[in-house]
């Protein structure tokens, strides 16, 4: 390294940088480590040090069906929102990058605008509109999958557009032009060249769309009904009244499943390169 001689002179600032890194990692990791630790307490009350440790809480999760049901709802909504946002977000980003048309810049801003509006504002506004629609059609819409997925599409699609646009800009256009010159129809260029080349961007987009939908609280809060509850909201409601090893165990199971999926995904596409 060329810089070693120069670096020797600023060990003080170097130390400061490492202190900051340590503090940052601590702040990010501490809540999760703590949750994992609490989930192993034997007592039902969180007191330090615990009287003993056990994994019994994990076995008891099944006795509380509301977490399981809400996990199912969360997964269902997130999967539909992810699929839907890919379906409309990828074509939109193709149009934004590969086509020239009037109003393109304004459209780009419009499609990303849901990211800049606070989630509670979106939630309340959709709620008010849906109530008007319920009064007009007399169909039960609040708490329906349709409304939840549509609302989640609004916050997942901008991420898909953002990541796919960034990905497309970085792609070499001459490969597509070569395919077209060799006689491939526009559709087969899209299907056999452009989309495969976008693979990393699409995977990143799907991943982010899923995260954004799965962990959303602010928007979802307004659109659930007592029977239909997403996992983050049922955990939130539980935590408002008590903190115990059971809810910690629920959270850990969720975390482990997601960590497993991420590691699997990382083998397929390097996450460090796409996010």
């Amino acid at each position: 390294m060329a810089g070693t001689a120069a670096r020797r002179g600023w060990t003080a600032s170097g130390a400061l940088v490492w202190v900051l890194i340590g503090a940052g990692v601590f702040v990010m990791a501490m809540p999760l480590v703590m949750t994992a630790y609490i989930s192993l307490f034997r007592d039902a009350v969180v007191i330090f040090p615990p009287s003993g440790y056990s994994t019994a809480w994990y076995a008891r999760i099944m006795e509380f069906p509301r977490f399981g049901t809400s996990l199912g709802t969360s997964l269902r909504i997130a999967a539909m929102a992810t699929a839907g946002s890919l379906l409309i977000g990828i074509p939109a980003s193709l149009a934004l990058v590969r086509h020239r048309f009037p109003g393109r810049g304004a459209l780009n801003v419009l499609l990303l605008s849901p990211l800049t509006v606070p989630g509670v504002v979106i939630g309340l506004s959709i709620y008010v509109l849906v109530v008007e629609a319920e009064i007009a059609t007399e169909a039960p819409l609040i708490g329906s999958d349709l409304v939840l997925v549509l609302a989640h599409l609004l916050i997942t699609t901008p991420w898909v557009v953002r990541l796919c646009v960034a990905n497309l800009i970085g792609l070499d256009r001459s490969v597509e032009e070569a395919a077209a010159n060799l006689g491939a129809s526009p559709l087969s260029v899209l299907w056999r060249v452009t989309l495969p080349m976008m693979r990393q961007g699409i995977v990143a987009a799907a991943l982010f769309a899923f995260i954004v939908s799965f962990e959303n609280i602010e928007l979802t809060l307004f659109l659930i009904s007592p029977g239909v509850m997403t996992l983050p909201i049922s955990i939130l409601q539980y935590l408002e009244y008590r903190v115990d090893p059971l809810v910690a165990a629920v959270v850990m199971v969720q975390t482990l499943v997601i960590a497993g999926l991420l590691i699997l995904l990382d083998r397929y596409v390097k996450l460090s390169r796409i996010v």
């Binding site: 969180v46 007191i47 509006v117 506004s125 955990i235």
Partner: protein, 284 residues
């Protein structure tokens, strides 16, 4: 594509997404704007009207403006802290050649997936009465207690731990886009670490810093679960207050007015910051 006019193809491609944003964002916001001008009545809930009184009520009452100020300073402070802690981590990750790099990135991504309630739960265990710190203090000097839960400190810590990964990931991708040779050049020209950072890395990373800062600022302005769980009953921020007006008081017109005040404050500040960065860029 040549068979059809190109504009039509583009329109078909971008149409569904545009319809979604118009139907699920623009239309509801227009309706909400109209709602915010209605009047609230205890018996009839919402009465059709055209009055600015909901906005006036917010702006005149020191309680509500106080909540807006609290939200603003918490959001600004956590954004600054995210930059302070996030930049070194992002820089190390971006410049790392080690095989642990992707493990490091995974460790940053993972907390993103777990949601804000989990982070709140962990901090409740650390800061709460009978929690880790409290018990440690009691063990060291019997009779003493440390109750940090339900304080602004707990809220700042909670929001920081949620927003930091977003900042790290945004900055990391920007720093990876900066050619490492530029830094080596500064190095060989005799710039020491702090100078290299201030005069080379920082200016080049400025657009990414602005993007990351705007992202975490919006997230903090919008925070719901963290102030609710870590701030306790007396600590107020805009999002929980808005939800309470809607769900507990059933006062939709006032909730709508709060929504617009929150949105306009957020948008004004983010627009101001991007205008500032753009001007710096043209000057540089």
């Amino acid at each position: 594509m040549s068979a059809r006019p190109r504009g039509l193809t583009a329109g078909l491609l971008v149409g569904p997404a545009t319809l979604l944003v118009m139907g699920a964002l623009v239309a509801p916001l227009l309706l909400l704007a109209r709602t915010s001008l209605n009047r609230y009545d205890r018996t009839q809930f919402m009465v059709e009207a055209l009055t600015p009184e909901n906005y006036a009520r917010f702006l005149v009452d020191p309680f509500y403006t106080g909540v807006l100020w609290t939200t603003l300073w918490i959001a600004l402070l956590t954004t600054a802290l995210c930059l302070l802690f996030g930049f070194p981590i992002a820089y190390r990750l971006a410049r790392s050649q080690s095989r642990w790099k992707s493990a490091g990135v995974l460790l940053v991504i993972l907390p993103l997936f777990i949601g804000s309630t989990v982070r709140a739960l962990g901090w409740m265990g650390v800061l709460g009465r009978g929690g880790l710190l409290d018990s440690a203090a009691a063990a060291l000097s019997p009779g003493s207690s440390v109750a940090l839960l339900y304080t602004p400190f707990a809220v700042v810590l909670g929001i920081l731990s949620i927003n930091l990964p977003y900042m790290v990931l945004t900055l990391q991708s920007v720093i990876e886009g900066i050619d490492a040779r530029v830094e080596e050049a500064a190095d060989s020209l005799g710039a020491d670490g702090p100078r290299r950072f201030l005069h080379v890395v920082l200016p080049l990373a400025l657009p990414g810093i602005a993007t990351g800062a705007v992202l975490v600022f919006i997230l903090a302005m919008n925070a719901y679960a963290t102030p609710l769980l870590l701030g306790g009953a007396r600590f107020q921020m805009m999002a929980p207050m808005l939800f309470r007006e809607y769900a507990v008081n059933n006062n939709w017109p006032f909730a709508a007015a709060i929504a617009f005040i929150l949105m306009i404050t957020t948008l004004t500040l983010t627009a101001a910051s991007s205008a500032f960065v753009q001007r710096r860029y043209k000057a540089a």
